[in-house]
């Protein structure tokens, strides 16, 4: 069959463009569905389609009034649109030579009228059409308005297709970027661990395969096959290949064998159609696709790294690159295993490493320790640094080789020398996360020994991460401190220190602003050693135009006082107090700016938005903390005033009673009244100590009993606990009556008598407090005759009115047991 003229349906560029949109055989989407409905309505037809013309079929992304989701090209009218510059209209399909034999015209559904607008890509390729179809001929065709609507809707279909493609593109990009990060981490870890392993082949191969599996997530199984005679032996296995260790594959007639023989990596897209794969292995290994890379040393192939999947097309060209990269790392590791191979091979490896490290995004350096006369390591010299090192440290790499660390970074922290010296001396690799203070940058990496003088370091800059962590930790610490501290100066001073240290500022403090915002009274500030404190009163006007932003209630942020328009006219007053950069963050109280939180730096610096957000957060917390302290202070004053008034009132009540009862001859009754009043008042004293919220059980007991007798007459036995105000009052009155009786008739009426007071909590369905009062060494007790007086009634009432009072009047003295539900004794937590 020959085709004299290529049809537009077969145009390879057009078909490639169609593939590029990734739209064929996808599920319906509302955006397209809406457009065909609009088209059908606009053109008053029962059928509308978004038809995409493939090389052998037309496929409908959206359709209304038409059931099949695709037809072959014999049934396609849309294919004729491909060659049209604009809308193709066929008023009567039975009359047109192109369509009169179309099966959809001659049979069901007997279509008669067709109008299709081309779906044209920005590059001019027509993918298909947005078409409308009727079952009756329409000799007059579409009206001008309908044709215009159809054209516009076709453009919308195209816009939808473009949008879809753009989103897909972005998702692919994100996936690829994540994969690249993961692969980079895996490579770095593998390199570092291989460098750290001292030449054990299996350990190196283990690390290598683990890294490769991590870098290529599509890999379900992985293997390192080493050449042994005329076969490849499965030496290290992972994932779906676990259990295949020791398997031997012939060098001839297998994919891995071919990779080993040709020393060329290979991407096997689909094992079922692969010409090299060993057929019987495919099923046994669950192999459908794979990437394979040779492990070579100095041109000699030692084995093959294979990563495989049970799914076809699981791997990309990038995965193959990763496999090659890891196989290269193995080469370096294998070299370490066999140093007898001679200098040539080592040299080749050096070249390999150099190439690798030149491309790394991690910084890499080789250092050579410098010793003093006593042999102690005092510095080290740069032997080699890679290009990434320059960017991470901020020094031109070309200028450092041959110079020592202390020459390149004066005042560098001692640890940067000591730790690497330890690595060289002990041979143990070291991991570090540390700051170079003078440049304020943090680095994380690993150092490993190369020989008796030299070491290698591979590292990344982690300043942003460390500083973010420090700010987070600082906020937590600040929250704790603010909660625990009780006075405003303590809080501001704690906040100043935390902020100063966290931001690495040279000074931090808190200043109150006067109502006119002309002066600021700086409280005890935090400073770096050597900085003067600014505590005291300052006028804003003395330092430039600093008030403006505070009047507007926004932070004052100056990166360099010598260039900032607000201070550059005369920066000397600020420079005189070592302020080159500053932030004044407003602190509000009841919505008004009443203070500023201040951070200073003796050097010009850019305050990052994260740092400013941190300061804002500190200022906010301080506002809340200060408000809390003020509220508590006020509460404390009110509590004291209340206690004072209550006691004064009790004294007045006492006086009135005394005067009223003046003529009563039973003075002991008057006295008893006064003692009860006192007992009640003692309970209030104890309650006041905890702001009336609770009282300590022991304190309540002692407060009331010491009114009656020396406390050494009482033995207390029980765990102290918080009790409710009600329980405190009840307990006070109860113990007062018991002690009064003991003084009159019981153990306390004789010199040697004592009272033991024991209490415990009983757990169970209804937890209870049980209190025992036992008199010892006194006369025998006798029950009061009759109903007894008020005192007896109070005792029989028990704790918090439960009436659970068990009184035993025995020869040894009074024994009383009281019981009350714990829920009534303890504080109710709401």
């Amino acid at each position: 069959m020959t085709r004299p003229e290529p049809s537009p349906t077969d145009d390879p560029l057009r078909l490639e463009a169609l593939r590029g949109y990734g739209i064929l055989d996808t599920v319906p989407e509302e955006g397209f569905d809406d457009l065909v409905h609009l088209a059908a309505r606009a053109c008053a037809v029962p059928v509308a389609l978004v038809s995409l013309v493939d090389h052998d079929r037309q496929w409908f992304k959206a359709r209304v009034g038409f059931s099949p989701c695709e037809t072959d090209l014999d049934g396609s009218v849309c294919r004729f649109v491909l060659a049209e510059p604009d809308i193709l209209q066929i008023p009567d399909l039975t009359a047109d030579p192109r369509t009169r034999d179309n099966p959809l015209v001659t049979g069901e559904p007997f279509i008669r009228f067709y109008a299709g607008a081309p779906l044209r890509t920005p590059k001019g390729q027509v993918l298909g059409s947005l078409c409308v179809i009727d079952r009756v001929p329409r000799p007059e065709g579409l009206t001008d308005d309908q044709a215009d609507d159809l054209r516009r809707l076709a453009r919308q279909v195209m816009a939808q297709l473009e949008l879809r493609r753009a989103i897909r593109g972005r998702e692919t990009h994100i996936r690829e970027r994540d994969a690249a990060f993961r692969a980079r981490d895996a490579l770095r870890d593998t390199q570092a661990s291989i460098a750290a392993i001292d030449g054990d082949l299996d350990t190196i191969l283990d690390a290598l395969l683990d890294g490769a599996m991590r870098a290529v997530p599509a890999a379900e199984g992985g293997v390192l096959e080493l050449i042994d005679g005329d076969a490849l032996e499965y030496r290290v296995v992972r994932g779906s290949l676990l259990g295949q260790r020791g398997l031997r594959v012939p060098l001839e007639g297998s994919s891995a064998g071919r990779v080993a023989r040709t020393n060329a990596p290979f991407l096997m897209a689909d094992a079922t159609s692969d010409p090299y794969v060993k057929r019987d292995l495919v099923e046994r290994l669950g192999l459908r696709s794979a990437v394979l890379a040779p492990l070579a040393r100095g041109g000699t192939v030692l084995g093959v790294l294979k990563l495989q999947s049970a799914k076809p097309d699981a791997f990309t060209a990038r995965d193959l690159e990763q496999a090659v990269l890891f196989a290269g790392v193995a080469t370096a590791g294998l070299t370490a295993v066999d140093e007898a191979r001679g200098r040539e091979a080592v040299h080749a490896t050096d070249l390999y490493w150099r190439g690798l490290f030149d491309r790394l995004s991690e910084g890499f350096l080789v250092g050579d320790v410098v010793r003093d006369a006593g042999g102690r390591v005092v510095d080290w010299r740069y032997v080699e640094v890679n290009p990434a090192w320059g960017g991470l440290v901020g020094v031109d790499p070309a200028t450092v080789v041959g110079r020592t660390l202390r020459e390149v970074i004066p005042d560098v922290e001692e640890e940067w020398v000591r730790e690497f010296a330890d690595v060289v001396e002990t041979g143990r690799p070291a991991a570090f996360t540390r700051q170079v203070g003078t440049i304020r940058r943090w680095y994380e990496g690993r150092a490993f020994k190369l020989d008796d003088r030299r070491f290698g370091v591979i590292f990344l800059e982690v300043t942003a991460r460390i500083e973010a962590e420090a700010r987070r930790t600082a906020l937590l610490a600040l929250g704790d401190r603010l909660r625990d501290l009780a006075t405003v100066p303590e809080m501001t001073s704690a906040a100043a220190e935390i902020v100063g240290r966290t931001l690495g500022a040279t000074r931090a403090g808190f200043g109150r602003i006067d109502a006119e915002m002309e002066t600021v009274e700086i409280e005890l500030d935090w400073t770096m050693p050597g900085m003067v404190s600014l505590a005291g009163l300052h006028r804003f006007a003395d330092y430039g135009d600093l008030r403006g932003s505070l009047l507007d209630d926004v932070a004052l942020v100056i990166e360099d006082v010598t260039t900032d328009p607000r201070t550059r006219a005369d920066p000397s007053p600020l420079l005189a107090i070592d302020v080159r950069a500053l932030v004044n963050m407003p602190v509000r109280e009841r919505g008004r700016t009443v203070a500023v939180f201040i951070a200073h730096d003796a050097q010009a610096r850019t305050w990052t938005s994260d740092e400013l957000a941190f300061l804002r957060n500190v200022a906010d917390r301080l506002e809340v903390g200060v408000a809390r302290v003020r509220a508590e202070d006020l509460q404390g004053v009110l509590n004291k005033e209340l206690a004072h008034r209550l006691k004064n009132t009790l004294a007045v009540v006492q006086s009135i009673a005394q005067q009223t009862l003046r003529g009563v001859s039973e003075r002991d009754k008057v006295d008893a009244f006064e003692r009860r009043l006192l007992a009640l008042s003692r309970a209030h004293d104890v309650l006041l100590r905890k702001s009336w919220e609770a009282a300590r059980l022991r304190a309540v007991m002692e407060g009331v009993l010491m009114l009656q007798a020396d406390l050494d007459r009482f033995a207390f036995d029980g765990a102290d606990m918080d009790i409710s105000p009600e329980a405190a009052l009840s307990l006070s009155l109860l113990l007062h009556e018991l002690a009064t009786n003991a003084l009159k008739y019981g153990a306390l009426s004789v010199g040697a008598g004592t009272v033991r007071i024991a209490w415990r909590t009983e757990v169970g369905q209804a937890p209870a407090l049980v209190l025992d009062w036992s008199e010892l060494g006194g006369p025998a007790a006798t029950a009061p005759s009759g109903r007894g007086g008020f005192g007896t009634k109070l005792i029989r009432m028990g704790l918090v009115g439960t009436r659970e009072a068990e009184l035993r009047f025995g020869s040894e003295g009074l024994r009383a047991k009281f019981r009350a539900p714990l829920a009534d004794i303890q504080i109710q937590v709401h």
Binding site: H644, N648, Q659, L678, S681, L707
Partner: protein, 124 residues
């Protein structure tokens, strides 16, 4: 010197601006077997102390109008008439450091036994 002290008993100057409380304080002084001289303000108390020399003990409320007036009186007495004993009552706690030497502060409501005991000790 017996001035206005016909009974010859120990004289206690009672300083209290609340008339109801004054009745009680005077009652305690009498229960202790002493005679009371009443002053209803700090100024009056000072005047009395300046005009007579037979007062050995001052019994004052610290919670009088002008919150610190009572304590100021106590300090002034310790300063100007060092031999006079000081018994004070207050509804608030006081630091030992704030109390004049040999002074005793008791709480409110009143613990009659301790007040009487203190007056008797000073009078002895």
């Amino acid at each position: 010197m017996t001035e206005d002290n016909p009974t010859g008993q120990t004289l206690v100057l009672v300083v209290e601006d609340d008339p109801i409380l004054m009745l009680s304080l005077v009652g305690y002084v009498e229960d202790a077997g002493c005679d009371a001289v009443e002053a209803t303000s700090v100024a009056e108390a000072i005047r009395l102390l300046e005009t007579r020399s037979d007062i050995r003990t001052v019994f004052t409320d610290l919670d009088m109008r002008g919150s610190t007036a009572g304590m100021k009186l106590a300090l002034a007495i310790r300063d100007r008439w060092p031999p006079i004993e000081l018994l004070m009552v207050s509804s608030q706690p006081w630091d030992a450091a704030q109390i004049p030497a040999r002074g005793v502060v008791l709480g409110k409501p009143f613990d009659g036994r301790r007040i009487v005991a203190a007056i008797q000790r000073f009078a002895a």
